[in-house]
Symmetry: C2
Subunit: 366 residues, 2 copies
């Protein structure tokens, strides 16, 4: 989607990917090679005026090597922090941002110690420090008897143990910063996950926690001298936001910005990494995004829903894989009841109708 945005405005792309079926391939030249292939890295650096990435599970050494040859954003510093749960959570604390309690654990002994330190009745989540994605590399521990299994399950690698937090909702802040220090912030996205995978996002214009989330994003981006789009995944706990993790890239919960905002997150990421003025993030209508997991429903059924736009990524269908998404915007002529009805129809179509009840304004219409 970044390449589509950039191609339209006249940019040219080269991609380095270890996947032969990379869905970006149609939009430029694909270097299909292991990410640590230095010849491929050199070709990329030679071709490009600026390099970026859209996945944080890349070895930092790869990014550092390319960064030494050509401008690259977000920086390897931002990547190294965002791709290590211990480093990122430590930074949140350092900057005075609310986050759940956690302990680093490198062994079964430390894990057992940490779990008991939380106290009786406190459930916890064991998460690998690196390489987590869509709920992978995680295990819930409700009682001491589950500790050994959890340690097995995550592969006995360096982890953090987090206290499981009771939140009223999950939201994300998508923000962007340019090399000049200009910053823009999208309205909060309210997100619903199932089985660790994002299923539904709804833009929340004028959310009472917008300012709090913007302040967090501003603090992080300034501290890191950050360039590009940054996503903050946040828990709404009581009256405040806990930051769960950050992603140094465009984010699934911001895909609705393509149709829903004046400038999409992809356009703003490209503007930022190219040193251009950032674009308006205003959202003037209701907008939601439904992920397509594993398979794409009938195009005809989707086209029958007013103001639904289908995005298909060109990936092979596979259970649990994000193969596309649908954006739904409000038809200003028909009002919010129709929007809610259409959203329920879409959720039903992807087998997620029960998620509608998670969203107050949708529930009143179901």
């Amino acid at each position: 989607m970044m390449a589509i945005a950039g191609t339209k405005s006249g940019h040219q792309f080269m991609f380095l990917s270890d996947a032969a079926d990379s869905c970006a391939a149609p939009y430029g030249e694909l270097l299909c090679a292991p990410l640590d292939d230095t010849q491929a890295q050199d070709r990329l650096a030679q071709f490009a005026d600026v390099v970026t990435y859209e996945f944080e599970n890349i070895p930092c050494s790869v990014v550092q090597r390319i960064e030494s040859a050509v401008p690259l954003h977000p920086s390897s510093l931002a990547l190294s922090i965002a791709s290590d749960r211990l480093q990122e959570k430590s930074l949140f604390r350092q900057l005075g941002m609310g986050t759940t309690d956690f302990f680093p654990v490198d062994s079964l002994e430390l894990l057992t110690e940490a779990f008991s330190a939380f106290g009786a009745g406190q459930a916890a989540i064991l998460k690998t420090r690196t390489q987590g994605y869509d709920g992978k590399g995680q295990a819930v521990i409700n009682q001491p008897a589950q500790i050994a299994d959890a340690w097995e399950q995550v592969g006995q690698v360096p982890c953090i143990l987090e206290a499981k937090v009771k939140f009223s909702r999950e939201v994300s802040m998508i923000a962007a910063r340019s090399p000049s220090g200009e910053m823009v912030f999208y309205p909060l996205s309210e997100n619903v996950h199932r089985e660790g995978i994002l299923r539904l996002s709804i833009a929340r214009v004028d959310d009472p926690l917008q300012q709090q989330a913007e302040a967090m994003a501003r603090r992080l981006m300034e501290h890191l001298d950050y360039v590009g789009v940054l996503a903050l995944e946040l828990f709404h706990v009581g009256d405040e936001l806990f930051v769960n993790e950050i992603a140094p890239r465009v984010h699934n919960s911001g895909h609705w910005t393509i149709e829903g905002a004046a400038t999409s997150q992809f356009d703003n990421h490209l503007r930022a990494v190219c040193g251009l003025p950032l674009g308006d993030t205003a959202v003037s209508q209701s907008v939601a995004m439904v992920n397509l997991i594993g398979t794409v429903p009938s195009e005809k059924a989707i086209a029958e829903i007013a103001n639904a736009t289908l995005h298909v990524y060109g990936k092979t269908d596979r259970p649990g894989r994000k193969v596309g998404h649908i954006t739904l915007v409000d038809d200003s002529k028909t009002g919010s009841d129709v929007f809610a009805e259409n959203l329920i129809t879409l959720l039903d179509m992807v087998g997620e109708k029960e998620l509608a009840s998670a969203l107050p304004f949708v529930a009143t219409n179901s």
Copy 2:
């Protein structure tokens, strides 16, 4: 732009083009061959579930041959009429639609006769019946002394001579019809040409002539059993609309629909030719399009203008060639004064500042 729209929603494309540098190439498989290459036509027909075209100067025989093998829209009938000024103007008359007076002329003698038949003081335009494009194949005749030169200039081919009409403005109607007979209509686009080339289009929501234009489009599409997007180029003369010509394809004056309308003309064309329900054409904000002729201005300067989106087609720069366009939408937070100011800035950037005075609401702000 059609392929970009279709690729996003999961369609796959094959293109037949006689241009090796076809700017659609990145979005599918390019068959670079003369259009009348029957092997290439057969490959296209074998690949495709449905075939369409985006340029009307294609030999009808090519379209007929492909149409006999695979569904193709708009039909060769629609193409044959739209690509011949005599046939299209005769159809306008047959359907009772206002159009300027005209005579078919096949020789210098008939041309001389026709010009004098208009009467003294009536200027005329000589236009080739086929292959006209961006003002090419046209010559203005103000007085009898210019007749012979005009006949030379258009190449002494079958023509029509049209009475030059005094219009207050040029507008276009972009409409779409699906195989089921469903029709949708975009708000009128007001268009400004210079040297026969479209420079500027502005969406006119609630234009008093909207209904008249929709009625014309409806009559034409029903008469032709039309499938796809149809563009009507219209002159506003007194209180009524004269239809100048039709284009059986997506149209430059509808490019603003990408950012400006709920569904773009490209999406609706694809929906129509694929037999899908058509999408909403609602326009909820001010929107204008400025063509980039010959060259693309600085991306940075464009990015500094709020709500301006740059489209670059990837064509080699060449004087008089349409190499891209910029869409400007209204920032609802700042109001129409800012929109008008930004539009003037954009026109200035492409060397067309004087065009602003052609548009009443812009002129008051300049």
